[in-house]
């Protein structure tokens, strides 16, 4: 059980963090302005648009969801959970139970006050098979969600999980009213009320005057719609027909920069492209071959030339350098042809050739593959690039061919990423690298809340993947968006484009 003192402690801690964040924000930006109508164009245009958080599966849903609903927590620029509908949260000793203390005085758009029953319903409905939730895989670990006193909920887990606050801040876990089954409209607690919703066309939402954050939101109205064509999207922004757009293509960055009224908005994030070398089949099951390839990648050049500088050099594992658990003791790999030749010889594969499968479905993998091909030739390995069609790549090539390109979008937490891709029994373990010790470390990391221990566990995870894994990971690829220079208050969040699609209550328009 948690007592009030513990709650207060965590409150103070989060309060200080918020204050620190707020002051740095004030330095960087001017005083927010009230009013105005924001027109946003996303890069996805889909007739599957929905108002049901359990069916949120695309970026249009994420952006719409953040206008209309809130989650218990909000993911910040460092990927950490911050209080939102929960004003504090804390785990028990062995991290098998989390208690969230709900904020008081929050009301839904129809005037009903938020209470624990709404939260319990919103989370537990994902477990109901009838709901057919898109987030069901994330709640398998949850045993029970129950009321804790008058203003709290207690989340009981099957196994220790330190990531619960972050998971409950993700898109699927937005809070709806207890008993809601009809999602033809949206009654949330969010900064905007639904005014118009046409699937595949647009969402219009107007300011919620009773929003629980004082003074927010700043805008009177938001209109969100999809423009699937990247050229049309940028043209509309430059012509002033929209104020904000997601997904600016790397080849259009220069054009966007030339326009005087447009700003490029880039979000460093743990999205990475890798060349997967499968450890269960010839010839990539040879560790020396894998080490040879890892020493052939010209990472600096890939970031500068292929990504136009909109990326971060990676070190053959999934943790970004700015992460608190980044293993700084592992030497950064670069092009080392002597080492590459040494390992190739040791593998008995010098002067041989191998096929590398690349595709448009993995952005930039063709260009990265060409750079790798050139370095490999110098080390005495012939790489034949096989350019595969996008359609069917994930079913025909991925986790099938020994040497192929893969892109991984960021997951809310590092341990979720590790669980999805590096556990021996993971469905998406695309290198088929299996190590019981690594499995243990990943489970331990998920259940550890102590920062020191967590860091040590993640350091070990990174060094195993770095030394033995089947992943040649050259770079992390930024999200790139663009907006009119009138738009202010947008801050990067590594879980997605446009501030993790959570911009509705923080942006404003400068006249």
């Amino acid at each position: 059980m948690l007592d009030r003192r513990q709650f207060t402690k965590s409150l103070i801690a989060t309060g200080t963090a918020l204050a620190a964040g707020a002051s740095s924000l004030n330095l960087a930006t001017a005083q927010p302005k009230r009013g105005g109508r924001l027109r946003v164009a996303g890069h996805v245009q889909s007739a599957q648009d929905t108002l049901d958080p359990a069916k949120f599966a695309q970026s249009t849903d994420y952006a719409r969801g953040h206008m209309l609903y809130n989650a218990l927590t909000r993911i910040d620029g460092n990927g950490q959970a911050q209080p939102e509908l929960a004003e504090a949260f804390e785990a028990n000793q062995d991290v098998t139970e989390w208690v969230f203390k709900l904020r008081k005085g929050v009301t839904f758009h129809d005037g009903k006050a938020l209470d624990a029953n709404d939260v319990i319903y919103s989370i537990m409905r994902h477990k109901d098979p009838k709901v057919a939730s898109a987030s069901k895989g994330l709640v398998d670990d949850l045993v029970e969600v129950a009321a804790d006193g008058t203003d709290g909920v207690r989340v009981k887990l099957k196994s220790p999980n330190a990531d619960i606050p972050v998971l409950l801040g993700t898109f699927g876990f937005m809070i709806v009213k207890k008993g809601t089954t009809d999602f033809s409209t949206a009654i949330g607690t969010g900064p905007f009320r639904l005014k118009e919703f046409t699937p595949g066309v647009r969402t219009v939402a107007t300011r919620n005057d009773n929003y629980f954050k004082p003074g927010k939101p700043y805008l009177d109205e938001i209109e969100y719609f999809g423009i699937a064509d990247p050229v049309a999207r940028l043209n509309a922004l430059i012509a002033g027909d929209i104020d904000m757009m997601s997904d600016l293509r790397p080849n259009a960055i220069e054009e966007a920069k030339r326009a005087s009224n447009v700003e490029v908005f880039s979000t460093p994030c743990p999205r990475f492209v890798q060349f997967a070398m499968m450890c269960d089949r010839e010839p990539t099951n040879n560790l020396d071959f894998r080490l040879a390839v890892k020493n052939m990648l010209d990472r600096e050049r890939i970031v500068q030339q292929v990504l136009n500088g909109y990326g971060v050099v990676a070190n053959d594992h999934f943790v970004m350098p700015k992460s608190p658990v980044y293993n700084s003791s592992l030497p950064q790999r670069g092009v080392d042809l002597d080492k590459a030749k040494f390992h190739l010889k040791k593998a008995g594969m010098d002067n041989t050739s191998i096929e590398l499968h690349v595709t448009d479905a993995v952005q930039n993998s063709i260009e990265m593959g060409l750079l790798l091909q050139r370095q490999a030739a110098l080390a005495g390995l012939t790489i034949n690039l096989k350019r595969e069609p996008s359609d069917g790549y994930w079913s025909n090539i991925w986790i099938k061919r020994p040497f192929h390109a893969v892109v991984w979008n960021p997951r809310p937490t590092e341990s979720l990423m590790a669980t999805l891709v590096w556990k021996s029994d993971a469905k998406w373990n695309d290198t088929q690298f299996k190590d019981p010790h690594l499995d243990k470390l990943i489970d331990a990391a998920r259940g550890t809340i102590d920062p020191g221990k967590r860091k040590q566990t993640f350091w070990d995870i990174q060094s195993i993947i770095y030394e033995q894994g089947g992943n040649a990971i050259p770079a992390f690829v930024n999200y790139i968006d663009a907006h009119s220079s009138k738009v202010k208050g947008l801050t990067p969040v590594p879980t997605g484009n446009l501030g993790g699609f959570n911009f509705a209550d923080s942006v404003w328009l400068e006249s």
Binding site: A57, Q58, A228, A232, A236, I238, D241
Partner: protein
């Protein structure tokens, strides 16, 4: 004449039935289904299975087709599987947009095409004929997305005269409708004018070489009268056909223009529906396109018969 219309309407219905079956079979052959499209990456097998049961996708394909067909006979087009909105609402909204764009484009394009085509035909190999032929060839060789994007770059991005996207849900005023639709209409009109004008010119030139025109010339009939009364009437059959084909294209084939100008029309809805495997929406769109083709072709034939009395007494 009534006999003909009745027979053609019956043939049309049969065609629609056949098309709906082919579309259904095609949708079944596509990999993946609407449950996968809706639930996305995190989907668990249980969620997928449950959604399939809810949407009735667990029933045999033949049964699903028959029950859909039974609904259509009662004018019930069902509910979109992906968004749970009635297909009728989705489609009627988009159909309205499509008809506005197609109607305006046709109203602009058809008269211009006649003027250019007939003008060129009056003096084959003359200056106007050469210029218009070269221009028409150039325009019809340009893909629509290039023409559309070029217009946007000039008039929206550089000159700032017109909005870059024609995206609308309702038109608030006539002026707003004209500025929003100016570029998409210009793009579409350019494409179909070039085709129609060339066809009109070719047909009329052909007719002008016939002996009865020579007779009229010798008789001293004015050139204008020869073209407008004698020649055009005999050329009406082929011209009506090419005009009808182009109008059908305006309704169903303009997905590229809808994409470039972000115009929420019916063709775009069809493409979206295919990518989410939303069978009732796909069917509704295809049936509308097919019905438009059949109706326009019928109108073209009727026009040909009116223009050429000999056709009335065939068979």
């Amino acid at each position: 004449m009534l006999n003909l219309i009745g027979r053609r309407a019956l043939q049309g219905l049969l065609t629609l039935l056949l098309v709906s079956f082919l579309v259904f079979a095609g949708t079944e052959l596509l990999p993946g289904d609407v449950a996968q499209a809706v639930l996305g990456q995190h989907a668990t097998p249980e969620s997928l299975q449950e959604l399939r049961v809810q949407l009735g996708l667990d029933r045999p394909a033949a049964l699903r087709y028959v029950s859909w067909l039974a609904g259509v006979i009662h004018l019930d087009f069902g509910v979109s599987l992906a968004s749970q909105v009635p297909v009728r609402t989705l489609v009627m909204d988009r159909l309205g947009h499509t008809l506005i764009l197609a109607g305006l484009s046709a109203a602009v394009a058809v008269p211009i095409a006649f003027v250019i085509g007939l003008g060129a035909a009056t003096r084959p190999a003359g200056v106007f004929d050469r210029i218009s032929s070269i221009a028409a060839l150039c325009v019809s060789a340009l893909p629509e997305f290039f023409l559309g994007t070029l217009l946007v770059l000039i008039f929206a991005v550089n000159l700032r005269w017109l909005p870059a996207i024609a995206y609308v849900t309702e038109f608030r005023s006539f002026g707003q409708m004209v500025t929003s639709l100016a570029m998409p209409v210009a793009t579409l009109a350019a494409v179909i004018i070039s085709q129609m004008a060339r066809m009109i010119r070719a047909t009329v030139v052909n007719v002008l070489s016939l002996p009865y025109v020579e007779m009229a010339v010798l008789k001293g009939v004015s050139y204008r009268r020869i073209i407008l009364v004698h020649a055009l009437r005999n050329a009406v059959g082929p011209i009506a056909n090419v005009v009808a084909l182009n109008l059908a294209y305006l309704v169903s084939g303009i997905v590229v223009v809808e994409t470039v100008f972000v115009y929420p029309g019916l063709a775009r809805l069809l493409v979206d529906a295919v990518s989410s495997r939303d069978f009732p929406v796909i069917q509704a769109c295809v049936l509308i396109f097919c019905a438009v083709y059949i109706a326009l072709m019928l109108l073209a034939d009727i026009a040909a018969i009116i223009g050429n009395p000999r056709l009335r007494h065939q068979e």
